[in-house]
């Protein structure tokens, strides 16, 4: 290339590059201004991603309908990924102050959100005027999103864990699909029979990586009647007989019976991939695990049923509950907060609308009839309405969840600073699941020390 040409090409490329980058920049900076032309604008995240076609369509329809009903409000949706709260990205948005006006978070995120100084106290706005069903919302859920008597988020989803099992594999193994295991001993026996089917089938499958191991350890511990932290939240409280039992059960199944399959160090998607391929007999999970198996992992609905979480010698003494809510960014105008509340009320907390629009969901490939999200207090008006609608429009065999629903297990929330604690407990889980000679006492002792140290550093 001769020099002038070289120069021209470089200059052109540079101009093109700068031009492109400028346009790329300008597309993203459309937040900020709140009340242009008498309208209140709010940005909301956790819009479904493009691959969830029907969910996205539903969301967009809801926005249109909501804006029609509230002509003074403009809702701008932002999609933050298929998992609305992926911890590193969430941390990034909090630290960078790029969260939307109304932003999604887990119940366990409250401490981190407060630390970042991004959350607004919304106590005075949470009332019937803004959210008509507010008084029906389970008070326990409101409590989780409160700190020092102040409310910081509106709960929009709530779940509790049970035993999810594959009916096809149960039948093949000669087990009764209508009387699933009620104790961990029964789980162990069933797992042995299912894994005897061979072909790489795991009777029972469990997580041990990516913080999901700790998450499930917590649930298993609750089933024993244990707790992760002491009531004052200052010390670890799992290095005891109940914690040992949890790990012993797993170790017995993994190495005593070899009924948990060879693949370990699983995290969320890994287990569900195997489940979708029909290689998992039982695992513990929330009702929406079956939804993920179908919509994301190529599995079938009719194969799956759910029972309450087993206990050691009888029914479980407790199960893990968790959920999600929407926080409000600090510095919003009262009008914006009210608009955000109204949107959440419409899309998340109104029977027959938004996430409760079962008539719309019925023909779509999303289950209606799952016993969740359990947002409303039992016996409240909204709860009854929602239940009737759900029954009338169910597209999955509700019998699959009948046992789970008929036998409620006391629900316990996640511990304070859950994600950090889960990371620690992953090591205990991976220990018993990958090392035939693991020392349960040592594993728990290490984890205890680590959690105590973590808690000490927090205060």
């Amino acid at each position: 290339m001769s020099v002038p040409q070289y120069r021209k090409a470089a200059a052109l490329a540079l101009v093109a590059g700068l031009g492109l980058s400028l346009t790329a920049c300008s597309t993203k900076s459309d937040d900020g201004d709140s009340t242009a032309g008498g309208k209140v604008t709010i940005t909301v995240d956790c819009q479904p991603v493009g691959s969830q076609k029907e969910l996205l369509q539903n969301w967009n329809d809801d926005v249109v309908e909501f804006q029609k009903q509230n002509t003074d409000i403009v809702v701008k949706s932002v999609s933050v990924g298929e998992q609305c709260n992926n911890p590193p990205d969430f941390t990034a948005r909090l630290a960078g102050g790029t969260v939307t006006d109304v932003f999604y978070g887990y119940m366990t995120d409250l401490a981190q959100v407060l630390d970042s100084g991004q959350a607004m106290d919304i106590t005075e706005f949470a009332n019937k005027d803004n959210i008509p069903t507010w008084d029906s919302v389970d008070p326990a859920l409101r409590e989780v999103f409160s700190d020092g008597g102040k409310l910081y988020a509106v709960p929009v989803k709530n779940y509790s864990m049970g035993l999810v099992y594959n009916k096809v594999l149960f039948q093949q193994a000669g087990l009764d699909v209508n009387s699933p295991p009620k104790t961990w001993t029964e789980v162990r026996n069933a797992a042995k029979k299912i894994s005897a089917l061979g072909n790489g089938v795991a009777g029972y499958s469990e997580y041990s990586a990516g913080n999901t191991g700790g998450w499930h350890f917590t649930s298993l511990l609750y089933s024993q009647g244990g707790q992760v932290l002491t009531p004052d939240g200052k010390k670890a409280d799992f290095n005891n007989a109940m914690g040992k039992q949890v790990l012993q059960n797993l170790k017995d199944m993994r190495y005593g019976d070899n009924s948990m399959g060879a693949r370990q160090l699983l995290q969320w998607g890994d287990l569900l991939t195997n489940a979708g391929a029909g290689k998992v007999g039982m695992f513990i999970g929330a009702p929406d695990a079956t939804q993920a198996i179908v919509s994301q992992f190529q599995g079938k609905f009719q194969d799956w049923a759910m029972a309450p979480l087993p206990g050691q010698d009888g029914p479980a003494k407790g199960t893990l509950g968790g959920g999600e809510g929407y926080f409000f960014k600090k510095g919003l105008t009262p009008e914006q907060v009210k608009a955000g509340m109204k949107w959440i009320a419409y899309q998340k907390l109104t029977p027959g609308k938004g996430q409760f629009d079962y008539v719309r969901a019925k023909p779509q490939n999303y289950p209606v009839g799952l016993p969740q999200p359990l947002l409303f207090a039992g016996g409240s008006e909204a709860q009854k309405q929602e239940f009737e609608l759900r029954k009338a429009n169910a597209n999955v065999d509700t019998a699959n969840f009948a046992i789970f629903e008929a036998t409620p297990v006391p629900i316990k929330g996640e511990p304070r600073n859950a994600q950090a604690i889960y990371a620690v407990l992953d090591a205990a889980m991976s220990g018993v699941l990958t090392n035939p000679n693991s020392n349960i006492d040592a594993l728990l002792k290490t984890a205890e020390g680590k959690v105590n140290q973590l808690l000490a550093a927090e205060s």
């Binding site: 998992q83 790029t98 992992f297």
Partner: protein
Amino acid sequence: MAQDSGTRTLISQAQLRRGRGRILYWTLLAVVVVVFTLVFLGPLYWMVTGALKSGQEIAQTPPSLFPKDPRPQNYVDAWNNLDLAKLLFNTFYYATGAVLFQLVFDAAAAYSLSKLRPIFGNLILGLMLATLMIPAMVLIVPQYVTVIDLPIVHINLLDSPFAIWLPLVANAFNIFLLKRFFDSIPEELMSAALMDGATPLRTLWSIILPMSRPILGVVAILAMTAVWKDFLWPKLVMPSPETRTVSVGIYAFAGGTPMNVVIAASVIAAIPTVIIFLIFQRNIMSGLTAGSVKG
């Protein structure tokens, strides 16, 4: 490459043409070709066919060599669900920008340090080279905090391509490579140009840069590869799904996607780079050669 066919290497040509040497040469060549094909092409074959298998077939023992019931749908799902077109576009966009920024700023800096040698030039070069010893991981947290809120101007660069382009300019290795190359350009050329009244910019454009095309090529390749290979930094500074790179996007989706679809996405993601490489293979190879001749 053609130029080396005649040069003498470790073992003399003559030795390889004679009797035992010849047999040994051909046997070794055959073994190496077979082994390398298995080691480097084998996994890729496994990848392409594995992505065609169903979830059940992947989990079976022993694994099947050919997919029994090929599911091209996995590739379609991968393309659509991961929005690969967008991810690939982002990656190439960031890579192109990174190349341009590095060529412009680093070449200018190297030129200044090599030929103009302003006061404190050596000190600045020293400070730059010192960063060679600082792994990116050490700086990841403060760098991230900086990008979120740039000092003085208080701009947030998250989700902006500049968050990838500008930190890459701070690349001491490139400046070092360029400076060394510029050093080797005879000073007389410079002074002759200056005598003719050419400005330093003019000298850079019309004398230095045209002579430095090989090294500019190397810097471009290195810049491209750096963006292509980087993972944690783009993962942190591009938190939105629309701004992700391929590698980060595939990772983000892997958690909630069946593995055969993840693998299918990987295959598709690799195709454009492989094609680019095959087309520019000669330039890349000779670029790397030229770069180290002087290095």
